[in-house]
């Protein structure tokens, strides 16, 4: 292996030198950016159902919106690279009944956020602990409409056929469903609910979210009731005040959630449940592979003590869950026992857990939920838990409890697991500096990425421990062949987490 790599590097270096030294002519012809319909003129998008919008926001331009912007069935709205779409009012939102495409690039990402938040990021994107009731990134909905940062997200109706967002910042999306919200019907909301940053519900539709940044939502980042999904290489920070999973699929939605970084979510990071109406989709329903994600400080703001799972496969859903790194999250990987997940079509292993407290270590295998014997998770499950059998799924028995005197009852002994197997990130302190003014009072207090870098140092035990003998769920999204619109699938990696050492994972920072 090593010799092969060295040979390859040498070959490339020689080739570059040769190219540079030769006087051969080199030509690059720029490819036009993807465009649909006419260019959108002016600098604002019209609001209201009677003034629907379609066409293309040309590269590099800034647009404003202040109410519900409608894209009708059959119409397409495109953001070329470097486009900023800034909300002037919390009522601003995108109602997509056709197609929505945002094609940022690594060099020229797109932005959709509040105009004040865009102009004054330091006031809105805090990098030290503050009262959650005054942190602009955390809002319980309600009267948040008075803050000048928020917008109402991208809400896709039942006729929306494609949501395709790449290299785009989606900040401060959410808010409250009120009288004047256009989503009070035809969407997954009822009166008084908080808005998801994005929602999608067409069984025949495609939802692609790639290489994007999501910050400070009121509730879920994505609530998918139907459709094919592709969540790859995104960064998700500060999701939800007391509710909200990051990527939340229901019904028959299936696809992948891979190479994402989650930090400071309210509830889970990646979740799949087949709860919801069947529309006769392919069986098994709700098959979502969750691999090579990194989860940090997630699941603490959930009101439900059992909802802190960061990888969560629920009722009737299935998936392959491998190569994830889970650091100081409220619980580990959860396969739900009742109503039961589709364990026949599910499997997991090769995941690394790290805890700074006994409570968390005691929930690496969340008690009362389903577990299965494996020899690949870190720490090795058999080193701290006596398995009833090695063949079948079982309900993890016992409820670990700290009792007076510091001993444990009823559960497995997790004492030896605390502060073991640090993944050794490039720039993130482990053990976590709990109780400092910057970090905040709890393990769950640190909800932002800031300068942290979750790439792996060479000493990381996560390197080379991955499982690669399975693949992403590629159909039907792989049938999109237009190079601008096609999803980029990254296969499971031999390293764990969202930032494998070969650089093929998450491309942020």
């Amino acid at each position: 292996m090593k010799t092969q790599k060295m040979l390859a590097v040498t070959t490339v270096v020689v080739a570059i030198i040769m190219l540079a030294s030769c006087s051969k002519e080199s030509t690059t012809v720029s490819k036009p950016q993807f465009k649909a319909g006419a260019a959108i003129s002016g600098d604002s998008l019209t609001s209201g159902a009677s003034n629907p919008v379609k066409g293309t926001m040309l590269s590099g331009k800034t647009f404003y919106f202040s109410g519900p912007v409608y894209v009708n069935k059959g119409d397409t709205l495109v953001m070329q690279s470097g486009v900023k779409l800034l909300a002037k009012s919390p009522r601003a939102m995108l109602i997509i009944n056709g197609v929505f495409i945002s094609l940022g690039t690594k060099q020229n990402p797109n932005w959709i956020t509040g105009v004040d938040a865009y102009n004054n990021p330091s006031q809105y994107k805090l990098t030290s602990y503050t009262d959650p009731n005054s942190d602009p990134g955390l809002t319980s909905g309600g009267n948040a409409g008075t803050y000048p940062r928020q917008w109402g997200g991208i809400q896709c109706g039942t006729t929306a056929t494609m949501f395709n967002v790449k290299w785009t910042h989606l900040d401060f999306a959410g808010g409250l469903v009120t009288n004047t919200s256009p989503v009070v019907t035809g969407f997954v909301y009822s009166a008084g609910n908080t808005l998801f940053a994005t929602c999608f519900q067409n069984p025949a539709g495609v939802y692609i979210l790639e290489d994007s940044w999501i910050y400070g939502t009121t509730s879920d980042v994505a609530r998918i009731t139907h459709g094919s999904v592709h969540f790859m290489r995104n960064t998700v920070e500060k999701v939800g005040y007391n509710d909200g999973d990051a990527f939340n699929t229901k019904g028959e939605a299936s696809g992948n959630m891979a190479y994402n970084l989650f930090i400071g979510t309210s509830k889970g990071g990646t979740k799949a449940s087949a709860k919801g109406p069947s529309s006769g989709g392919p069986f098994p329903y709700g098959k979502v592979n969750m691999y090579n994600n990194t989860y940090v400080n997630c699941g603490y703001r959930s009101l439900d003590p059992d909802r802190g799972a960061n990888v969560d496969i629920e009722q009737g859903a299935s998936g392959y869950v491998y190569n994830n790194i889970i650091v100081n999250c409220r619980t580990g990987i959860r396969f739900v026992e009742s109503p039961v997940a589709d364990t026949v079509n599910s499997a997991y292993g090769n995941n690394l857990y790290y805890a700074d407290s006994l409570n968390i270590a005691g929930q690496f295998m969340p008690s009362s939920h389903l577990g299965k014997y494996n020899t690949t998770d870190i720490p090795l499950p058999s080193s701290y838990y006596t398995f009833p059998n090695q063949k079948y799924w079982f309900v993890v028995k016992g409820t670990p409890q700290a009792v007076a005197g510091g001993t444990w009852t009823n559960g497995y002994d997790a004492t030896s697991l605390v502060r073991k197997n640090s993944p050794v990130f490039v720039n993130y302190p482990l053990p976590a500096p709990v109780g400092t003014a910057t970090y905040g009072p709890h393990l769950g207090s640190m909800t932002w990425q800031g300068n942290s870098d979750f790439h792996l140092q060479s000493s990381s035990p996560a390197i080379g421990k991955g499982y690669t003998s399975f693949s992403a769920v590629v159909t039907p999204i792989s049938s999109i062949t237009n190079p601008d619109l096609a999803a980029t699938f990254t296969s499971p990696n031999i390293d764990l987490g969202a930032f494998p050492t070969d650089g093929t994972g998450n491309q942020h920072n």
């Binding site: 309600g142 009267n143 004047t180 009070v184 035809g186 109406p277 703001r301 739900v336 009742s338």
Partner: protein, 925 residues
């Protein structure tokens, strides 16, 4: 041979008679006392022998018996309230028995009644029976006197005594809706004095029958076959509440009673200190964003009160003017009742588990209901008779039912809660405060004019409004210490306001032409109605979320009841009137009919004709203009023929055959394309819903043997096209997959046999009925198998239809001592209470057997003492899913209360016994 047989028979009778007789040598005077005009017996009338100061009253069997020992001349005086006394002089010689019959004439100021359905208006059992016997179509009638003796105090509870009627119960165990002949409540309508009334329900047309206090009634009728003159949207039956009429003489009735409910008395009865009548959105500017401090928290301050039930009735009536032309009656009934319910509900998940379609459960909900009901009913009836030919009648009614309910719940989370057997679950405590006030107002002005000997016309102008106000529905939830929880804490909660009304303006006009052709009689009538209805429903909802402290912790409460206040919440919102529950709608119905009624040879009575009904409906909801179905209209016309044939085999035997066509209109909510997001299925309205069309056939044989004895046997068959049910189906409007909502299945059929029997032996009586019903409907359901969900067809009975319904009343009525006793038993067989979207997983209510008792004793001429006891056996209401239950008998998913391996118990409720006792005062000049 024959002669000897006759002799023997006579001898036997004689022996029997002599042995019963106290005076071996006396003469027995027997006889009947009948109404001169109607030929109906007058029970309670007295026959008095002036000379020897001996009297007797007319017993249940309609006869009196007197004995005298000396042969001489006697004067018999027969008298009865409301009738002219009659004297007869008889001379007793040596006869050993004598038949003396009296026909009494009413006091002349009694007026002919005008009731739109065209039946006589009287208060007694005999007249009830008379009405059944002489009615144009198939009618069951219960008189005020029967009702008074019933253990029941609401109309809904009385309905369960009728043949072929079963009832749906509310959370306090009282009957609420009637399922007639297996046809669910949507197929039946409610009339007040023959006038259809609207419903205060926010979604449905049918009227909650527990709104009406029983004491207001003169008579309760269940009309099971329609004639052309009746509105065409009853298939099971029409429930006609005939209110008390102005009496012939000055009459006062009053009663007062008190009692309690066994559960409320033993367990304690909890109520709350107050509530917020108006939502912030109703008092503030539009788009006002409410905060937690805009709300009262008194509705979460609970305290126990003594559950002392009180029931009062009063009525006063007279013919007011000297010429007796104006008559009026005012009646009021007030009930203040406390009811306790203990319930366990194992809440199923909306999805099943592959590979065997296993039902899955989410919660075990152990609930204590404290229901405080305040029921008020008042009515005024006045009539003015200009002359023999012209009469005006004014009727006004107001009923109100206020329900104040505290529901305390302990919720053990089963799904996604970490439960692994008993005692391990995540538990939550919930307290819900709910107030609901339903009202119905009806004002009817009627005129009746005889234009000539042959022509008659009558008309009615009616205003009715039903309204419902449910302010401040709130339920808070405390996560109560699962071992995984740091501290008990609040959950998100909602506060909701609902207000709606349904307002009708209706005009009726009927023309009659009557002609005698020899001994035959022909009546041709024609007429119609026009009704314009407005419906309006507004729904407001606020959502609160618990407030974190500055360290990101949630406030903790172990018994948070005292501490709940605005400081712990964030959120609120504008109430969001824009929601699927808010809508307005209108309906115009224009109907006309022509009907012929022929009496042939005193044997045949044939009523036939046709009715045309045109329906126009529109709706508007507050959705954005982009919403498909923001507004819309529907229009349709139906021609409804019917024929009713009655053949009088003898004066006391009827053979009847009826055919009629009826319809069932979707409610105005159902056709409004609402879309309520649900966890598993969205609930959606269906503007393409068709009205159901039903062909009905009845056959009935009735025999009225003695004055009060009756036997009847009937069969019915109903073919229902486009039956409407709340069903799982593929959404046709928004193509958003599968939804639950009103939906037309292809067709259904329903047949049954009804048997009713009444028999009296002197003071003892037995009254019973039995109905067998068999309905079939086939709908698409799901089955979660190893390879995913497949659709299958399943045939089942209609929701609410029980195969066997039986009632039995044992009566003892000693007219002489003024003592009446009744033991009433009602049996309802197993029936579906909820249709599951999944194969074989419907919810089945267990057979329900209820025993009630009542007693009444007269004293001091005008007074009586009475006692009513309901639900003596404290019968549990139990609901099962018929699925093999081993998964839930033991192990990780073990559920409480499971004893039977072949089925899963999902609900069990106890309502406790109810007792009231009090005094009644009746005075009539």
């Amino acid at each position: 041979m024959l002669l000897s047989y006759k002799l023997l028979k006579h001898a036997c009778l004689l022996t029997l008679f002599l042995s019963l007789s106290h005076l071996a040598n006396s003469t027995v005077i027997r006889g009947t006392v009948l109404d001169l005009k109607t030929r109906e017996p007058l029970i309670g009338a007295t026959v008095f022998i002036k000379e020897i100061n001996v009297g007797a009253s007319v017993s249940l069997s309609g006869t009196f018996k007197l004995a005298v020992s000396d042969p001489r001349q006697y004067t018999l005086v027969c008298s009865f309230i409301g009738y002219k006394s009659l004297e007869k002089v008889v001379t007793i010689t040596s006869e050993e028995k004598l038949q003396i019959d009296f026909d009494l004439e009413e006091n002349s100021n009694e007026l002919n009644e005008i009731v739109v359905v065209g039946v006589l208006d009287k208060t007694s059992d005999e007249f009830a029976l008379h009405t059944e016997k002489n009615s144009e179509s198939i009618v069951n009638v219960m008189s005020a006197k029967t009702i008074q003796l019933m253990p029941d105090i609401t109309v809904a509870n009385i309905l369960q005594r009728f043949s072929g009627v079963s009832v749906d119960r509310n959370s306090s165990g009282d009957a609420q809706y009637a399922v007639i002949r297996g046809m669910p409540q949507r197929y039946n309508y409610t009339l007040i004095n023959g006038i259809k009334i609207p419903s205060p329900d926010d979604k449905n047309r049918y009227v909650p029958m527990d709104l009406f206090p029983a004491d207001l009634l003169d008579r309760l009728e269940v009309i099971k076959a329609l004639t052309p003159s009746m509105e065409g949207d009853a298939t099971g039956g029409a429930m006609n509440l005939v209110m008390k009429d102005a009496p012939a003489t000055f009459t006062v009735h009053a009663s007062a009673a008190t009692g309690t409910n066994a559960i409320a008395a033993q367990r304690g009865f909890s109520t709350f200190s107050g509530w917020q009548e108006k939502a912030p959105a109703q008092t503030q500017a539009p788009e006002y964003l409410a905060t937690p401090s805009d709300f009262t928290y008194k509705n979460f301050q609970y305290n126990n009160v003594a559950p002392v039930n009180q029931v009062y009735n009063f009525s006063i009536g007279d013919r007011l003017t000297r010429d007796k032309k104006l008559g009026a009656i005012v009646a009021a009934s007030y009930q203040d009742l406390y009811r306790g319910t203990n319930s366990t509900f194992i809440k199923p998940d909306n999805q099943t588990q592959a590979p065997n379609n296993l039902p899955v459960f989410d919660d075990i909900l152990v609930r204590q209901y404290s229901n405080h009901q305040k029921r008020l009913g008042t009515h005024l009836k006045a009539d003015y008779r200009f002359n023999d030919k012209n009469q005006l009648k004014l009727y006004g009614m107001f009923v109100e039912l206020e329900d104040i309910q505290h529901r305390h719940t302990i919720d053990t989370i089963l799904g996604i809660g970490g439960r692994v057997g008993f005692g391990t679950g995540d538990t939550h405590v919930l307290d819900r405060s709910k107030v609901q006030k339903q009202k119905i107002v009806n004002v009817t002005l009627q005129g009746d004019h005889s234009l000539s000997q042959a022509f008659r016309v009558n008309w009615s102008a009616v205003y009715s409004k039903a309204s419902n106000n449910a302010p401040d529905w709130s339920e808070y939830e405390i996560q109560q210490g699962s071992s995984k929880s740091d501290v008990p804490h609040f959950y998100d909660f909602n506060r909701r306001w609902l207000t709606n009304y349904d307002e009708d303006y209706t005009g009726y006009l009927n023309l009659y032409y009557n002609k005698n052709i020899g001994s035959n009689n022909l009546e041709i009538s024609s007429g119609g109605l026009y009704r314009t209805k407005s419906r309006d429903t507004k729904y407001y909802s606020y959502q609160f979320t618990p407030h974190q402290d500055s360290n990101g912790n949630y406030p903790s409460f172990y018994n948070g009841v005292d501490a709940i206040g605005p400081q712990y919440w964030s959120g609120g919102g504008d109430g969001s009137l824009v929601n699927p529950n808010t809508y307005t709608a209108h309906e115009q119905i224009a109907a006309a009919y022509i009907q012929g009624k022929i009496l042939l040879a005193q044997k045949w009575e044939i009523i036939g004709g046709a009715r045309a009904e045109h329906t126009y409906q529109d709706w508007l909801n507050p959705m954005p203009t982009t919403f498909p179905g923001k507004d819309g209209t529907k229009a349709y016309t139906d021609i409804l023929p019917s024929i009713n044939v009655k053949y009088r085999v003898t004066p006391n035997d009827n053979l009847r055959a009826d055919y009629f066509k009826s319809i069932n209109r979707p409610s105005l909510f159902e056709i409004n394309p609402y879309n309520i997001q649900g966890d598993t299925y969205n609930e959606v309205g269906n503007p393409y819903l068709k009205h159901a069309i039903i062909n009905n056939i009845d056959l009935r044989y009735e025999k009225f043997t003695k004055t009060l004895d009756q036997i009847s046997l009937g069969v019915f068959y109903k073919q229902i096209d486009n039956p409407i049910e709340q069903l799982w189906h593929k959404d046709s409007v928004a193509s958003s997959g599968n939804v639950i909502g009103p939906y037309n299945s292809n067709s259904a059929r329903n047949f049954g046999i009804e048997l009713a029997l009444t028999k009296y032996w002197g003071s003892f009586g037995i009254s019973g009925n039995y109905t067998y019903t068999n309905s079939q409907i086939t709908t698409t359901k799901q089955y979660a198998g190893a390879n995913g969900i497949i659709n299958v067809n399943q045939t089942r009975p209609l929701q609410g239809q029980a195969p066997h319904i039986a009632n039995l009343s044992l009566l003892y009525k000693d007219v002489g001592h003024g003592l009446s006793l009744q033991l009433a038993l009602a049996y309802t067989g197993t029936r579906i209470t909820y249709v599951s979207p999944y194969q074989n997983l419907d919810y089945w209510q267990q057979p329900y057997f209820i025993m009630d008792f009542s007693l009444e004793k007269n004293f001091l001429t005008y007074f009586s003492f009475y006692l009513k006891a309901q639900n003596l056996l404290n019968t549990p209401y139990q609901v099962y899913i018929h699925h093999e239950s081993s998964e839930y008998m033991s192990g990780v998913n073990v559920l409480p209360l499971q004893t039977d391996k072949s089925r899963i118990l999902v609900q069990r409720e106890y309502y406790g016994q109810n007792f009231i006792a009090g005094f009644r005062f009746k005075f009539s000049k």
